[in-house]
Symmetry: C2
Subunit: 350 residues, 2 copies
């Protein structure tokens, strides 16, 4: 089968590397000529909103998927008249808009922290007068890896918030005094069957994921909650493929943070750590094949390389971590690779 | 770093797939346009004895390696004046010739079964009159996967043997009443450091490897022998990269069978089953990097698909085996893929 991937970043790259052993062939579409997935699969250069170019790209493909969610949903709709697109465009429109995303979560009974729609700076000022406290103002659209976010409260200036609201509508989120951030990665097959990966505990720095540990410790009760929530979302959209949902854990509760309608950074540990990785299962789902098990084979610690990669040989010298270079040029704040260190799972002796 | 691979079969394909996560880039050289590694890396089509084409291919590469041993050593010598070639051409000339290979093994103190050089049919007839018994006649050169071999003894006609001797010089091997076939895969770094993978037990059908089990059971004593033997060979050639040596086990002895100066089918289980795979370690060696550990993380059973691949979804339905399609057209006797099934290693409880 021939698979097209819209977006040529590290997720597309790892999808292709997971798919070649399954006998799949790949083509990648990206606006930039140095998209890193282009090092491992033929790259077509074109704009994400160029419907004609996208349709030409889709010629001869069996299925098209994508590696990031900020694509024009209209482009995917045009494509889906020509070729099978999985997951479908509907979830993109929700995941692209924090307001729609939170409304969707709440409509499915998934609790969120307190939040408000904010369109004007005057609205923000009024809200802060009524309810002083600590908040994060986030743009409704096009935020990722900490971009489009401003901390509010603790005497901080509101200048950055004013600037953000000049650019676009926002949501104001009350800062959640969470114990930890966790995410669940899952894959849903075309027939509705689901595979859940173990809960992952994540640490972000400046909004960028730095470290994931999986399976997360002390997940009694919350694992079931996370599975219920991700299943509700996936079923709502008749989702086909891998997706992730991020939560804040507060006591025994999970508060919704965001949906990623794609393979996810917090699931990279599954390449070596799970029976079948999030990448392979995404491909198996979109190809209409049965899914592999998501059980952990190891306890894993995944660390991102942000900004620049150390020389690989210096990483090799420091231990047995499994190295993943993305083939990207260094740039501050950019994810350029990751390393997963594997530990034996605890064994129960009689 | 940019790596060139001469030969574009499944071994080149799996080398590239192992090397992309290390940040390596690949080019592949093969005489056929449908060489399966060409699906995962840019393919240059050219004859193996076309020195000019090989040198053009090597332009801009940091290191060149190969995925099979029946290359003209002269071609590699020409190449090695332009670019680093690893492993070096010397071991190729030995591994290409069963007579040179056995003589080399014996000169290093590695025991072989009884064997004789046979150049004429009359020599063969004389030998069989003197020593009736069961033998295999093998061409000195260009034999692989059971090709160029004829069974002798037990009342079989000598017609096929006569035909083989018309084509080229042969060696006659006394059939060894072995208990099992085992192989050792090892990697030698540029500084002489070596990593040994656990001994693998292999089953061949019609000269083609079908099943490998690793780590082989009951290896007390023979593991050390195998490590001593492969180290003697690797040191003799100042070898850089992964190599394999196949043996017949007879009681506590290992009788030399053959050298493969490359990654080897009996090491495919290391992709999922070892801390660092034979493919990654080959690349780390030829790039001048330090090696990863070869310890087994699982007990593995690797089965080859020969002739044709079943549909992958039917394999998925049957269990959690890790599937590797090579992207090759079906053909009787051709290796087109493999599957590795992982089992927990025995745990010693206190």
């Amino acid at each position: 089968m021939k698979v097209g991937i819209i977006g040529g970043g590290q997720l597309a790259r790892m999808l292709a590397l997971a798919g070649y052993p399954l006998g799949l062939q790949f083509k990648v579409y990206d606006p930039t000529s140095d998209a890193c997935a282009g090092q491992v699969a033929p790259l077509t250069i074109g704009a994400f909103d160029d419907g004609a170019a996208l349709c030409a790209f889709a010629e001869g493909l069996d299925v098209v998927t994508f590696d990031f969610e900020n694509l024009p949903a209209a482009s995917l709709r045009i494509l889906s008249e020509r070729v099978r697109v999985a997951p479908g465009p509907a979830i993109l429109e929700v995941a692209q808009d924090r307001l729609a995303e939170k409304s969707c979560a709440q409509s499915l009974g998934i609790p969120c922290g307190d939040w408000w729609e904010v369109n004007e700076f005057a609205d923000l000022q009024r809200l802060l007068l009524e309810r002083p406290g600590d908040y994060i103002l986030k743009t409704r659209r096009f935020g990722y890896d900490g971009k489009g976010q401003v901390r509010i409260g603790g005497g901080r200036s509101l200048d950055a918030a004013a600037a953000l609201l000049q650019s676009q509508s926002c949501v104001l989120e009350a800062l959640v005094p969470f114990e930890r951030e966790v995410s669940i990665v899952a894959t849903r097959a075309h027939d509705g069957q689901m595979v859940f990966y173990p809960l992952t505990q994540n640490q972000h720095v400046d909004g960028v994921l730095r470290v994931s540990q999986a399976p997360a410790a002390q997940i009694e009760g919350v694992r079931e909650l996370a599975e219920t929530y991700v299943k509700a979302i996936a079923d709502r959209f008749d989702y086909v493929g891998t997706l992730a949902v991020e939560f804040f854990q507060v006591g025994g509760r999970l508060l919704f943070n965001e949906i990623a309608p794609r393979v996810h950074n917090s699931g990279h540990w599954t390449i070596e750590g799970a029976v079948c990785s999030q990448f392979e299962n995404h491909l198996r789902a979109i190809c209409g094949w049965s899914l592999g098990r998501g059980d952990a084979r190891f306890r894993c610690v995944m660390e991102n390389y942000v900004g620049d990669m150390p020389p690989v040989d210096s990483i090799f010298a420091s231990g047995d971590g499994r190295v993943h270079c993305y083939g990207k040029k260094p740039r501050p704040g950019r994810k350029v690779g990751h390393m997963t260190t594997l530990f034996s799972l605890p064994v129960t002796c009689p």
